[in-house]
Symmetry: C2
Subunit: 224 residues, 2 copies
DNA sequence: ACTAGTATAATTGTATACAATTATTTTTGC
DNA sequence: GCAAAAATAATTGTATACAATTATACTAGT
């Protein structure tokens, strides 16, 4: 039975979203090995659609295939995080510049609501919410940029980043507050149609995020 | 039987490389529909590994899945080409900057050999060779940059670009010559450890390539 | 006790049969 | 003749059985 306008998820897509969440939320931890038979029976599907889901996650660097064909959850290296942020920096610049040019009054309004939620949230310190609304803000800009290639790549990179963000147990409360304010300033520049200003603040924002990330990872390096 | 140090390709990987080539070389043309049963019997394998290969190509935007599950070879749009080049520009900047910092004498020597082949080639006008050695040059820089994320993304984007480059029948001979010379100048800047200079020439190079690409596509737009 | 070799088990890779979905053709009622 | 409905065909999605590969446990010889 399907509600109008909806479609039942295929077994493969179901497995994809389920496993992805397990990896992003750390239920499947870095360097843990993945056995197809285990996962498929756990999810109540056969190995065929499961393998499709795993292959897709492998493309997204959320699952790693060793030379012997065995799969595992990739571990996290500082070098890789730095690489990802190097790319992310440039693509976020593209996105925010074009988004500024394309933004309508309605877009500004919608972004304001997201920023409101970010500021409302970071006091509570619930890491899931902070990550959620932050992602909302950035994703809105990706869509607004109109560049689907940029949007697609950034979404994937952010998923990779999400993993360790979520896994690092102690969050820097000050950084969360600062990050929220950076979003607010970026929005302000966009509203003023100041694409260069928006870009400059975005650069700071990404750079600060990188530094916070490395700091947090180093502090808990012993886990990895 | 396998020779030492070699491994027989799995059916999936065999299918992947085979189909990818067909798409890149235009044997499978834009907007052509793909039927699994046809392809699998044609390649002499079952549908199971074939589907794995197709899924991977889908991820790389070399195969497109329509909402009804059917597959086709994606058609080519100028807007998408522009988007890809926007991203490629920034990532090539990253790559050439870091490659300049990392380049040893040996690397300069190897790059010189590639540039020699480019210049030797563009007189003959054999499009396959020109594309091949040009790709060699860029790929060498990607490796040299040490940033695997950048390298991975650029490689994929270049495959997408390769499709229409190869499909556009008439090539601009003057542009090929100019492009070859640009490679030479980039190498010169790298040899001088002038990363900013190398970056600037790379920007010109990519911009010129984009313009040539759009010009060529527009000229043959009726095909698409 | 250790190593090489062999047997066993665990896991991934592939083929095939069938189920579910989507497209096409045929039929029916008007 | 046309539109809606039904039947048929084509295609993709999934489950399962088996083949091939890789890892582990065991044995024998020294």
């Amino acid at each position: 039975m399907n509600y109008p306008g909806t479609t039942r998820l295929s077994a493969k897509d179901y497995a994809y979203f389920e496993i992805k969440q397990k990896i992003l939320e750390g239920e499947l931890a870095p360097s843990q090995s993945i056995v197809e038979e285990e996962l498929s029976s756990q999810l109540g599907i056969s190995r065929t659609p499961l393998r499709g889901a795993l292959q897709q996650l492998e493309f997204e660097n959320l699952v790693e295939r060793k030379s012997n064909g065995r799969l595992k959850v990739p571990s996290i290296s500082i070098q890789e995080v730095e690489e990802i942020f190097t790319v992310r920096m440039k693509l976020e610049e593209i996105a925010v510049e074009q988004a500024t040019d394309n933004a309508t009054e309605d877009d500004i309004h919608n972004l304001s609501n997201i920023v409101y939620m970010i500021k409302k949230t970071y006091g509570d310190g619930r890491i899931e919410d902070i990550l959620y609304y932050g992602a909302q803000f950035h994703n809105y800009l990706y869509d607004l940029s109109g560049n689907r290639t940029v949007s697609h790549i950034l979404t994937q990179l952010n998923d990779q980043i999400h993993r360790y963000r979520r896994l690092v147990p102690v969050q820097n409360v000050d950084r969360n507050k600062e990050s929220g304010e950076e979003h607010e300033i970026i929005l302000d520049r966009i509203a003023q149609k100041d694409s260069q200003g928006a870009k400059a603040v975005m650069q700071e924002h990404i750079q600060n995020s990188l530094e916070a990330a490395i700091h947090a990872i180093k502090a808990f390096k012993k886990q990895f």
